[in-house]
Amino acid sequence: MALIEWQDFSFKYLGANTLALKHLNLSIEEGEYVVVTGPSGCGKTTLCRTINGLVPQFHRGYIAGHVIVDSRDTRDHTVAQMASIVGLVFQNPANQLVTLSVEKEIAFGPENLGVPPDEIRRRVEEMIDAFDLHHLRDKHPHEMSGGEQQRVALAATLALKPKILVADEPTSNLDPQSAERILELIAEQNRRGMTVVLVEHRLDIVAKDASRIVLMNEGSVVADGPPHEVLQMDICEEIGVGVPKAVQLYKRLLANGVRLGRVPLTGSELAMLVKEAATG
């Protein structure tokens, strides 16, 4: 069975007029790196919330169908029970930082899951190293910049050693090089076996890491497949998804009768394919 499975799942927030998710049928296997994208309001954030049970346990509303995560129906499990399986990094990191220092913030999750103190200390140091947080160790999370908060929120989430990492635009406040470092850390977790579900508008920076892109619009999945297949579909432009320039150029060249070997996802891949086409 898939690690995460939406079975004809629909959801409408209390007081809302329209369904946030409509008859969703989708499954994600262990070890995948799935990028979820689509225009604002398409249901991406709601989708994230269904994985750790925030929908429907915390956000109430009309619900139909089921979401099964690691063989557990999220209707029957509390968010706390799901926390050891699913780590969720929110879009706005300030909403999830609760303690008075970075060290305590990272220790908070494992403490609540009953992890032994020695192991907690080990994980705190590991995360402080991995995310380069030494200088912030004793700092209050609310005194930090948005980018620093994002790093701390991600470190605190990964300290739980979840099976699945769900991240909702985890680099939106970061400068490009910091964003790249964070994305590299996430890709590394994925290579070690963690399943990743990442929401992102900026496909030029995440497409290369993803094994799959799920494109959503108005609460439904409208395209689903490997990045190079999904990104060349015309529906991306139609609904307003930011197609990387390398893919845009691939399509323009195609319109001019030049077919490159495959759809490039990065600038260097594009250059390589052009060299092949020119010399081969």
């Binding site: 879009q91 400068d175 600038g267 060299k275």
Partner: protein, 275 residues
């Protein structure tokens, strides 16, 4: 015209944020300000409408030393849209929010209402006029905050990270609107980390690091320079990555290309398309 003359500023007199900034911005320019977190970008634009005042040096707005003007007076010339809309929205409907600034600038109720509705229409927000800003999505709140500043029709519009949380379609609409304002003669300044947004829509780029300007010039020169990119924690534009890699094999391709159109032309020449 805005002139900075050797401007120094430190938060709480302890944390230096600007360490001697000099620049000139002419009417009708379109400028991207780029740099790492903490480089002084936001501090820079807050000096333009007097929200912050230099510790040393001068800021001159339209020929007058900014020291002689209040924030309210300067705000008629320079409209500033904050990075986090929640820091500037506080009333219970979108309409009241936008009317507030207009009334404060001395417009009559009728004039204010007329301008308010014109701006909401321009930004495609009419349907939200009666809604509470706090019940809107993050992207919508950002556009309401922009509307509240646009309605006052400042000569200079300075936006702090306007593309965060906006999808590609919204980004495109924002860019189009800024371009139109620029054609009408307004000066548009954005602080952004989004290098593709800067490359596509702004002709001049000011790069900052650690409180000083490290480069200032045409966007394609500034943002294809490795020293600048490194100092600003930027990654090169995707098309520049391609151009540089191609340059190694085809020396006739300049390394400095940043635009899709430019790359399309040179690649078609190499591989010989039909078009």
């Amino acid at each position: 015209m805005i002139i900075f003359e050797d401007v120094h500023f430190a938060y709480d007199q302890i944390y230096p944020a600007l360490r001697g900034v000099s620049l000139q911005i002419d009417d009708g320019e379109s400028i991207a300000v780029m740099g790492t977190n903490g480089a002084g970008k936001t501090t820079l634009i807050k000096h333009m409408n007097g929200l912050l005042r230099p510790d040393q040096g001068r800021v001159i707005v339209n020929g007058v030393d900014a020291r002689e003007k209040s924030v309210a007076e300067l705000s008629r010339t320079v409209g500033l849209v904050w990075q986090n809309p929640d820091h500037q929205l506080f009333l219970d409907t979108v309409e009241k929010e936008i009317m507030f600034g207009l009334r404060n600038l001395g417009y009559t109720a009728d004039e204010a209402e007329e301008r308010c509705h014109r701006t909401l229409t321009q930004l495609g927000l009419e349907h939200l006029a009666e809604r509470s800003p706090f019940a809107l999505s993050g992207g919508e709140r950002k556009r309401v905050a922009l509307a509240s500043v646009l309605a006052t029709e400042p000569d200079v519009l300075a936006l702090d990270e306007p593309t965060i949380g906006q999808d590609a379609g919204q980004k495109e609409r924002l860019a189009k609107m800024l371009r139109e304002m620029n054609y009408e003669g307004k000066t548009v300044i954005v602080v952004t980390h989004d290098i593709e947004f800067a490359v596509d829509h702004f002709s001049r780029t000011i790069a900052m690091a650690a409180g000083i300007i490290i480069a200032d010039g045409p966007t394609h020169d500034v943002l294809s320079n490795d020293l600048v990119l490194e100092a600003c924690s930027l990654t090169p534009p995707q098309m520049t990555v391609t151009a540089r890699a191609l340059h190694q094999v085809f020396p006739e391709i300049p390394q400095r290309l940043t635009h899709l159109d430019e790359l399309e032309d040179v690649i078609l020449k190499i591989v010989g398309g039909e078009g």
